[in-house]
Symmetry: C2
Subunit: 225 residues, 2 copies
């Protein structure tokens, strides 16, 4: 589903190199964790896979499409249709209720407004937030905002879910519930990529990609020695 070849990403001058020499594939239906120290390039990599950013060098193919040959509006359509993103900083719409924030995850699904809200309410319930459906982000705790971001990313059941530290603000129990949601989606065919510092989360992923100082340093699958 996703293929990276010779990918690098640098910023500024003199350049800060965030990623270099990245080559790997993600098959449709896989579930994997990206792990590594703070500042090692994980979010940069996820943003590139999610077409929210373009590489400085190299090629990224998604479902056979060469993203480097696609315009910004074509990439935007691809994302809306196929990719669900949980951001490290959540990026919820301020002043919009939790349920309406989640409903935006269905905006391009062809689903009518009333049904979007009903499905958003179900998704919110799955992350334990029915009692907070009408709170706006500024009226929610950190972990509640994170769970709204997760519900929004999964409600449209996109083909590819990219989650940046989705349990970072959660206690063990809430975090385990989130991993269950992702595992359920993966069982029904969704490709799931999770950045995590949480060992409990990482060890439930069948594959783990390690990053250090912007380079891939490991690619382990369950069953490898």
């Amino acid at each position: 589903l996703v293929s990276l070849r010779g990918v690098s990403r640098s910023y500024g001058s003199p350049p800060t190199v965030a990623l270099s020499h990245v080559d790997f594939d993600i098959d449709r239906g896989e579930m994997l964790a990206i792990v590594g120290p703070s500042g090692s390039g994980k979010s940069t990599l996820l943003n590139l896979i999610g077409t929210l950013d373009r590489p400085s060098t190299g090629d990224i193919h998604i479902d056979g499409h060469d993203t480097g040959a696609m315009s910004d509006s074509e990439l935007s359509a691809l994302r809306a249709f196929a990719i669900g993103f949980v951001f490290q900083q959540y990026h919820l719409a301020e002043g919009v209720s939790a349920v309406d924030n989640v409903a935006t995850g269905l905006l391009y699904s062809g689903v009518p407004a009333s049904e979007r809200r009903a499905r958003a309410a179900i998704a919110l319930d799955r992350v334990g937030l029915s009692a907070r459906a009408h709170h706006r982000p500024q009226e929610l705790s950190g972990g509640e905002r994170q769970r709204v971001a997760i519900a929004r990313a999964v409600v449209g059941e996109p083909a590819l879910i990219l989650a940046d530290e989705p349990t970072g603000a959660l206690d063990t129990r809430s975090g385990a519930a989130v991993v269950s949601i992702l595992a359920d989606l993966n069982a029904s065919g969704t490709t799931v990529v999770v950045i995590t510092h949480d060992h409990q989360v990482a060890e439930r992923m069948p594959r783990q990609l390690g990053i250090r100082d912007g380079e891939l340093v490991g690619d382990r699958r369950v069953g490898d020695l």
Copy 2:
């Protein structure tokens, strides 16, 4: 140092009760963790202790002062002088470099500008970010921003440090380094209160205060059965 009696905090109408029936003391020089599920009231409690918020009912005394009898400017002066805060959402100054963000932690210390910057550079080095001193927050990773927020809170060596999930975005190694910094400060007399979901952090604290649904449910000290 800190004393809470009959403290509660509610929002809105009909009211959402974030905290109720809170009674406890923190002695000068203590180090404790506040633990509990997402949405249980931990950040609300920390903000009340840090005088960033006022309770709906009850009294909060800091160093013998009744905060309820103090004006906003008096509270502001108390905070500037005595309290270092690591926010769950960091709240760094956008467009200001990492080292200058840290230096703002010394603004009320009477230290001249050149010395503030020198001390800020040392604090930044302690959290492993010397190579990112001139990056602005939008040019930093999530965990790097968190570490800048930590350095800013500790650089002025305030009497009381309140840290809201200070390792939430950090890998094990960076997180352990942060706990060491807090433990060192505590060893030299600083009172440290840490909200954490991280068991590794919580178990290094001599005292653990549990919260669930806005109420205190446990107060354990190392050595208790």
